[in-house]
């Protein structure tokens, strides 16, 4: 359960979120809006990457302003550009990186990494240099590196923007199968068609909050 109460946030003089209040309890939540509408800042609130200037954000009771570490343990974040998320030189090492702080021991870590790579079909690439993967494989690696830490919630900020159609489908199918609560920021209106709920942002305001059909229709009307 994510609770956002009267959140306002600015970058310098530019107000990017204005008095946003919403409670997110559904399994699949889409967030749509034009570039600069505030949806990426909204996503960053959920993982405590951005702490609001005013208002509160709580994730399963943990306040992002007071306990960011606890929030980040619960909320995994997937960025648009996988290159910026990959930290270690090889695929297996990058997946293992997120587990370092847990001090699970070598065997347990290797087992968890192998299982996570198997799930996304990257087992054969475990020892490969991460920077030599294709764009789609890199995004799958980024997703695996997040999922291996077993977050309760996954926030995805336009994860398919840089991918071709087959890789987009592959990443979205994998996300669809996850048991976690997912908050998907996207420009791909079709990808949220089966979601439980879709939020529409415009000029920093939450202007629609509905089932996918009416929410997408509202957005289309807004931008045409």
């Amino acid at each position: 359960m994510i609770e956002i109460r009267d959140v306002t946030h600015s970058y310098g003089e530019r107000v990017v979120l204005r008095s946003v209040s919403v409670t997110l309890a559904e399994r699949r939540i889409g967030v749509i809006g034009a570039n600069g509408s505030g949806k990426s800042t909204f996503a960053r609130l959920l993982n405590a990457l951005v702490v609001p200037d005013a208002g509160t954000v709580t994730v399963h009771g943990a306040d992002t302003a007071k306990d960011a570490a606890a929030v980040r343990r619960m909320v995994g974040f997937m960025f648009t550009d996988p290159d910026a998320q990959i930290v270690m030189p090889t695929v297996a090492e990058d997946v293992a990186f997120g587990l370092r702080r847990r001090r699970l021991g070598k065997d347990k870590t290797e087992w968890m990494v192998a299982e996570a790579l198997e799930r996304v079909g990257l087992s054969g690439h475990a020892e490969h240099p991460a920077h030599l993967l294709s764009g789609g494989q890199k995004q799958l690696l980024a997703l695996t590196s997040v999922l291996v830490t077993e977050p309760r919630i996954l926030v995805c900020d336009e994860p398919t923007t840089l991918l071709d159609l087959p890789n987009t489908r592959r990443v979205l199918d994998l996300i669809d199968e996850l048991p976690q609560q997912v908050v998907m920021i996207t420009h791909d209106l079709e990808s949220v068609a089966e979601y439980d709920r879709v939020l529409v942002f415009d000029d920093g305001r939450l202007v629609a909050d509905d089932e996918p059909g009416p929410a997408v229709a509202f957005y289309r009307a807004l931008v045409t």
């Binding site: 993982n47 990457l49 570490a69 980040r72 910026a84 930290v87 270690m88 920077h131 997040v146």
Partner: protein, 193 residues
């Protein structure tokens, strides 16, 4: 950045290899003549072969330095003669190839663990963070190289010749953007907690 090939060197503990590198590199720097540097180079070739790595792989480690080595050789040849030039240049090439052998046969995570253990003994140093900085430096090399290639391709596609400003400015800007994004991703993965 270890290769898939496995050998006795791949299996040796990272701490032993790091210590061995320190000892051998010091030894190489103390070599007195071109002939002894030649012997060291021959031993290095044997080391690469025993690790299942070809001469081409060894050359690929030194290749980026070839112009620096050429300049150094020329300068030393003028200043001190051929023998001195061969000795100094050879020592540098052998040392670089020796260091590369470590990264080619050791997982970055193993190096990270060793560096963390070593730096924990240094007062007032956040060992975990310092080791992470070194790992990120290794990771940044292919990323910045890819950015540089992209920018060069974009220049070529627009029919431009080599213009240092048109090349350097976007490279710096994109590198800074990459570092910002990487920093944000590290925070999102809980590194700062």
């Amino acid at each position: 950045m270890s290769r898939a090939a496995r050998s006795w060197l791949h299996g040796a503990p990272a701490s032993v290899k790091l210590g061995g590198l320190a000892v051998l590199a010091t030894g190489v720097l103390a070599l007195p003549s071109a002939a002894t540097v030649g012997v060291a180079a021959a031993c290095l070739v044997v080391l690469y072969a025993s690790a299942g790595l070809s001469l081409a792989v060894a050359w690929a480690q030194i290749r980026p330095l070839r112009w620096v080595l050429a300049l150094l050789f020329g300068f030393q040849a003028v200043a001190g003669g051929w023998e001195v030039a061969a000795t100094v240049t050879g020592k540098l090439a052998v040392t670089v190839a020796l260091a590369a052998l470590l990264t080619l046969t050791t997982q970055a995570s193993e190096l990270l663990d060793v560096l963390e253990r070593v730096m924990r003994r240094v007062p007032r140093v956040n060992a975990e963070r310092a080791a992470l900085v070194l790992t990120l430096a290794i990771r940044a090399i292919p990323v910045v190289a890819a950015l540089a290639a992209d920018i060069r391709d974009a220049q070529r596609a627009r029919g431009g010749g080599l213009d240092i400003r048109a090349y350097g400015v976007p490279l710096v800007v994109r590198s800074l953007r990459y570092s910002d994004a990487l920093g944000e991703a590290l925070v999102a993965r809980g590194v700062d907690d």
